[in-house]
Symmetry: C2
Subunit: 494 residues, 2 copies
């Protein structure tokens, strides 16, 4: 069937979708979410069908196409295209199989991941896959195959080094910006640590957002490779690299129900580590009531799974279960966190000691993996001598930034001090409320917005003493964040 | 936040969706599939958020709205609207609960159905519900609550009669147009049978498509009530009535994976029966290799479930397990089926005897339910005396049609006779291929298109004798249908 293109000027956010008038659809016996092939010249793309009941939206004889289809086939308004019925992707049968509780083969998982990466599945179909893996939990075997498939269908960083170090902290803890101290310490010790980090999804800052305060973070993979080979370390945004791209699409359909399918979480993390060809990986699982992992038993279970998968991927893996009961570091929000890190590396007295202790412990674990002996003292030596600071400046410059002092980092001009209403000890800090208020204040899109906290659990506090300060770049958001802070119990004092 | 409306001139097909520019979305901390409230004057609607990365699609300060939102809030381009963050619907938590394998309460199921009916769930969220019910099969208790909730959140037909008869045939068999003979026989016997039927989804004709050849079928519920009270029977399209509307939305997301969750199937059928306040219901389960129900064991299991649910809904229920191994009747396609029915009711020698036998058996079962004695002879008497024909004409006239003879029904002008290539007995007829060819020929949208079959399983056939004729209204579709028929084994002769 020949149809005329109508650019409907909207993006589907991923899947290739075309809209037919209901009369044309009936003629081809097509239903919503069926597939057709669109042919333009020598280019052919398989797309998902949507159906318009009204001719106002798509008249008979026309085909409405979303932005993604325009891009894929280089279409223009009123182009003539050929339409043929297409089969459903093979992976539909495999998704059904998993939904029916059966185990998938490596080939089947590979096909599903390929179809996800190439936008061949509709959101509904992808949701069935996520639901299937959630209710019929993948075996370790399946998770490993999923991990490998995610890596296979994306870019891979190859550095030709004997050892490649990597780390990952499971999210949910405000602050906790360990990467920005661990990377320079490990790189200063002569090890290669090509770190990819994420931007914030639901937190006040991801490591990529914080690093962006002092350097560029978006690089193509060949540029990242050059940086890592030159400085031994880098801290770049994973989103620009197309490493394990299936992952982001899966996460998008997990969000509405806040599903965290364990097999997906494992595969997602391990795929990102595997795609930089890491040989030694440190995983940090913070445990706390308001953390992603709520209790020690869950953490231990996850630890064992990481170890099993790591072993199968032929990686040295070390899993630390850490305290996730409160924010780590003082600054929450990109600029405030970057300032903490510079103070820490420069040995300034204002540095956050809890974050420093955690970073040193993590470096010690990494040294223990690669050198088979305790490395706490070594890590501390590198940090205290200024070598880590110098390495960080080297990395910042390699990533297009320049040396900057902590004082020159811009912090939001509107500020509000939250004072303690009584004397006592800090008994509890709500991770969730700290994150929420920092986000309302403007983090992470306003780099200077966030919260700076002065007290941690166990600290003494006097009535009228400062607990935290909210910083904001715009009046409107500042007022809203202040209101929320005033009406909620961020700190519990006993 | 105040935004200006941009009509993006496309329909979502159900859910209320609005598109924000990514900058505005970041400001409100909103992600794809979050909810916002849109306020225009005194009207407020909660809608699902989509996010545009490019300002070409939706610039900062604007809000792109789908047709459904335009309709719900009576918006115009460049209207100013107020945006507030909204909570997710309550049912999201309940869907998660079901996905986690826990049993839902009546209140929770009710909330889910309410949200489905009112387009409060995105396709992804609805898919999670279907997947949850598919993998964690609903208990009979839950299915009953789902049935009741579907009825509650839709229109209900109340006729104030002591007995209301209804019937349902599970689909998948070409022809099988029993409703159009059963309704006039039962109504002629003085019983009230207000039948709602569906249009075809994947078959060459639904009963509503066939009835439409001789009468109108789309009525509002109050008009349907008038007709049923006047003539005791009607055959109308359920789609125009808003009875159990949640059902259609659930079916739409089942299609991509061809999922038939048993609990949904049961609830869907029983809800439609319950919403016309039926007291006596006959269910026909055709069993066959190419039927929806493939074997007797599955049919028996389904029968027991129907009986359990019928009992709990305080209905007399009778389930017949019938032969679904071949098409029933000779005509396949709206006009050809309507002609069969008129021949049958008029006692014409060309009437399909297999369809007649099945209809009489079904009527007999209905009489047995209401009169506690065998009713085959009674049914045959009503049919043979012409009373059923007269009742049908009465119903046709009440539904805006007029008396028409079978010969005056227009059949497609292009025809092709498929001849037997050998002599023998018919061993097999493919339901799937018969349906497919009839659809390609143009059924159901071209009323006169379809297939007329001359032989059934067990019939003798000579070489060169006609097996079936394809009818089509357009040359193009005719040629395609003919090609498919020539290259596939519709009849197997041994």
């Amino acid at each position: 069937m020949k149809l005329k293109v109508k650019d409907i000027d909207i993006s589907s956010g991923g899947p290739l979708i075309a809209v037919l008038n209901h009369k044309d659809a009936a003629m081809l016996d097509l239903h919503v979410m069926d597939r057709i092939k669109i042919k333009k010249g020598s280019k052919v793309e398989t797309v998902v069908v949507d159906i318009a009941q009204s001719k106002k939206i798509v008249p008979k004889g026309k085909i409405g196409v979303f932005e993604e289809v325009i891009g894929a086939l280089k279409l223009k308004n009123n182009d003539n295209v050929d339409i043929m019925i297409a089969r459903k992707p093979l992976s539909i049968d495999y998704i059904k199989k998993k939904l029916d509780g059966r185990k998938l083969t490596g080939k089947e998982i590979d096909q599903i991941v390929w179809d996800i990466v190439h936008n061949k599945l509709s959101a509904v179909e992808l949701t069935y896959f996520v639901a299937a893996c959630y209710t019929n939990v993948m075996t370790t075997e399946e998770t490993i195959m999923l991990t490998k498939a995610m890596v296979r269908h994306g870019e891979v960083l190859k550095l030709n080094r004997y050892r490649i170090i990597d780390k990952h902290s499971i999210g949910g803890i405000p602050g906790n910006r360990t990467t920005m101290a661990v990377v320079p310490i490990i790189a200063a010790a002569g090890y290669c640590i090509p770190k990819t980090s994420s931007r914030s999804i639901t937190s006040p800052a991801g490591t990529a957002d914080t690093m962006e305060v002092v350097a560029n973070v978006a690089f193509p993979i060949n540029k990242m490779k050059k940086i890592a080979l030159k400085t031994n370390g880098c801290i770049v945004w994973g989103g620009s690299l197309n490493l394990a791209p299936a992952d982001d699409k899966i996460i998008a359909v997990e969000r509405p129900l806040e599903i965290d399918a364990e097999s997906q979480l494992l595969a997602s993390i391990m795929a990102k580590k595997h795609s930089v060809s890491s040989t030694h990986v440190l995983i940090d699982i913070p445990v706390g009531k308001e953390s992603k992992v709520k209790n020690k038993a869950d953490a231990l279970k996850l630890k064992r799974e990481f170890e099993k998968i790591g072993k199968r991927l032929k990686k040295h893996i070390k899993v630390l279960i850490t305290d996730g009961s409160q924010p780590i570091g003082n600054g929450i929000g990109p600029a405030l966190e970057a300032r903490d890190i510079l103070w820490l590396l420069k040995r300034d007295s204002r540095r956050p000691v809890d974050l420093e202790r955690k970073c040193l412990m993590m470096c010690a674990s990494i040294f223990r993996m690669v050198e088979k002996k305790d490395g706490y003292r070594k890590a501390f030596g590198i940090l205290n001598s200024g070598k880590a600071y110098n390495k960080m400046i080297e990395i910042i410059k390699a990533q297009g930034g320049k040396e900057i002092s902590a004082e020159d980092i811009g912090i939001g001009k509107y500020s509000y001090d939250a004072l303690s209403t009584k004397s006592g000890r800090i008994a509890y800090i709500s991770n969730m409320l700290v994150s929420r208020i920092a986000r309302i204040a403007g983090a992470p899109s306003d780099k200077g917005a966030g919260i700076y906290i002065y007290k941690h659990i166990g600290d003494k506090v006097k009535r009228g003493e400062k607990l935290f300060t909210i910083y904001s770049e715009s009046k409107h958001e500042f007022e809203y964040a202040k209101d929320v802070a005033k009406s909620s119990r961020v700190f519990v004092i006993k």
